[in-house]
């Protein structure tokens, strides 16, 4: 029996131990499904303090898995998405854990943490509580492997393109102006990341948002239409022409947008970033609005969404919205090419604050914070 073929057995044994400790029959409770031709394999699995308990007619699973995956392919892995499927949990019960901005050489391992809590009714069926599947792997040549049920290919590719853009930006800065300029730029990036407003965001696709616990008991806030202000990027292939949403207190409802394709190429998918502004003047990135209909070259389209967003300060204090702005986050053309904002596009002050940093920029900032400038320079020279 090879090392890799033993792994499912080890995993099953771990689950059996987990079940015994908790006093819950978890036979086949967790299932890790990797396809036979998977470029990744499970090198190790530590379930740590995971436990499952029964409360009344419900099962509560508290899973803390430290997983190590090994790159069995001949290419460098740049990103991975694992799909977590939980049966009988509300509305599909899907989750994912993604690890972007990787650089894993063939034969090397890398860690993935899964910290999941789930409550679902007791089931007499034989299906596992949670299935873990490989949704996608992105390689350094931007090739992709996986079922792509979550559109992981698009997201992993956008992250990788952003990573290349930002690495190139810092590398050019280092080469052209030296370490001092690099340090200044990385400190500026660190400052932007630290200064981002801390908010919690909720969304319902349709229907009314359930009443918030801290909603005012007597003041009924009337809806009012608010027009979008657009943060224009010179290089964007899509122009936002008009847009509005209804705002009531801390909720923004039913965003509507008019968009125009400035490029000759047809568009398959685009994503618009939404920034919200509260009555204190604070602006923060909160949501994305995807458009998944084909948009012909030079064509226009209307985007109507029925979702409702609610935003509050982290910690629970309530805020009152008064405005919205939008910007084009990324575009996927019908021919498979992508557009992401360039560093020049987002260099403008307001956009630089609102557009979320790439995972790679966050990683480089953390490297500098933890190990210093020299480690960052060495990383950029790789």
């Amino acid at each position: 029996m090879s090392t890799w073929s033993k792994l499912p057995v080890v995993f099953a044994a771990s689950v059996a131990c987990l079940a015994q400790e908790a006093g819950v029959d978890l036979r086949g409770g967790l299932k890790f499904n990797l396809p036979k031709d998977s470029p990744l394999a499970v090198a190790s699995l530590d379930l740590g303090p995971s436990k499952a308990t029964v409360r009344g007619g419900a099962v509560m699973l508290d899973l803390h898995a430290s997983l190590r995956l090994r790159n069995l392919s001949g290419k460098r892995v740049k990103g991975v998405t694992l799909l977590l499927l939980a049966q009988d949990v509300s509305a599909g019960g899907k989750g994912s854990v993604a690890a972007p901005s990787l650089d894993v050489a063939p034969g090397d391992d890398f860690p993935v943490r899964i910290d999941l809590r789930m409550v679902r009714p007791m089931s007499t069926g034989a299906e596992p509580l949670v299935q873990i599947l490989l949704d996608g792997v992105l390689f350094d040549d931007l090739s992709f492997f996986g079922e792509n049920r979550l559109n992981s290919r698009r997201q992993l590719t956008v992250w990788e393109l952003e990573a290349r853009r930002d690495r190139k930006h810092f590398q050019q800065l280092l080469e052209a102006r030296g370490q001092e300029s690099l340090q200044k730029e990385i400190l500026s990036a660190m400052s932007r990341q630290n200064d981002r407003p801390r908010v919690d965001v909720q969304v319902v696709r349709r229907g009314a948002m359930p009443r918030a616990a801290n909603a005012p008991a007597t003041n009924y806030e009337m809806d009012h239409d608010v027009k979008f202000s657009f943060l224009r990027m010179p290089g964007s292939p899509v122009e936002l022409m008009a847009g509005a949403a209804r705002i009531a207190g801390d909720e923004a409802k039913a965003p509507q947008l008019e968009i125009r394709n400035r490029d000759q190429k047809a568009i398959r998918h685009l994503e618009i970033g939404l920034a919200l502004k509260d009555t204190s003047g604070q602006e923060f990135f909160a949501a994305t609005v995807p458009y998944d209909e084909p948009l012909a070259g030079k064509g226009t389209a209307a985007l109507r969404d029925s979702a409702t967003l609610r935003v509050r300060h982290t910690g629970g204090s309530r805020l009152v919205l008064e405005g919205m702005s939008g910007f084009v986050n990324n575009v996927e053309f019908a021919d498979g090419a992508y557009w992401i904002p360039s560093r020049t596009d987002i260099a403008e002050g307001q956009l630089m604050k609102l557009v979320p940093p790439s995972p790679e920029e966050q990683r480089l900032v953390q490297l500098y914070r933890k190990k210093g400038l020299q480690a960052l320079v060495e990383e950029l020279k790789k």
Partner: protein, 197 residues
């Protein structure tokens, strides 16, 4: 000429009329030979009774006995009136009692109305519950993690133990919520998402 009734003449002779009736009757009897004869007859009868009372055992006071007998007769008449009026409609006031059949019938009616109302209320509440749309599934992204819940079931992807605070949280209007974490030691990025279908 109208003569007083025999009963009134008897009461006149016994001295049991009111002073006004006694005065009016004395004027009539004084001028009416027929009524005088009637009074005389009653007086003779009274003498005969008195002679009879002498045969009553010693110690028995006739007057007291007669008063008690009259009182008993009045009590008996009042009781008879009360029994005959029992259960009949009385315009003067409420019915003083209820027959047991009426009580059973009333109880049955009240029970039937109550059960009917309760069954109807239960059915209506079930209909309202069936008409009400299910609670919307809320997806939430916060620094502590991402999750979705419909009130009874939930799925939460928590922040890794080493990174309590998410660096970036966001939602998508197609019904997903995401949180991005940076590992303090390695700098590795983890992005957790939940998806509402």
């Amino acid at each position: 000429m109208k003569h007083p009734s025999v009963e009134k003449l008897a009461l006149y002779d016994g001295g049991e009329l009111s002073w006004l009736d006694h005065l009016i009757l004395r004027r009539h009897v004084t001028g009416c030979a027929q009524c005088q004869a009637e009074v005389e007859m009653f007086r003779g009868a009274a003498v005969a009774v008195r002679e009879e009372t002498e045969e009553i055992p010693a110690g028995v006071q006739w007057d007291r006995l007669a008063a008690e007998m009259r009182a008993n007769i009045r009590v008996g008449i009042a009781a008879s009136d009360a029994i005959s009026a029992y259960g009949k409609p009385n315009d003067a006031g409420p019915v003083q009692g209820m027959p047991w059949r009426m009580a059973v019938l009333t109880f049955g009616l009240v029970l039937m109305v109550t059960v009917g109302y309760w069954l109807n209320a239960v059915k209506k509440s079930e209909q309202i519950a069936a008409m009400r749309p299910p609670d919307p599934v809320v997806a939430e992204a916060s620094e502590r993690g991402v999750g979705m819940s419909d009130g009874s079931k939930e799925l939460v992807l928590q922040s890794p133990k080493t990174n309590v605070r998410a660096a970036i949280v966001t939602v998508s209007t197609v019904g997903s919520a995401g949180a991005r974490y940076v590992d303090e030691d390695t700098g590795q990025i983890t992005v957790n998402n939940v998806y509402v279908e």
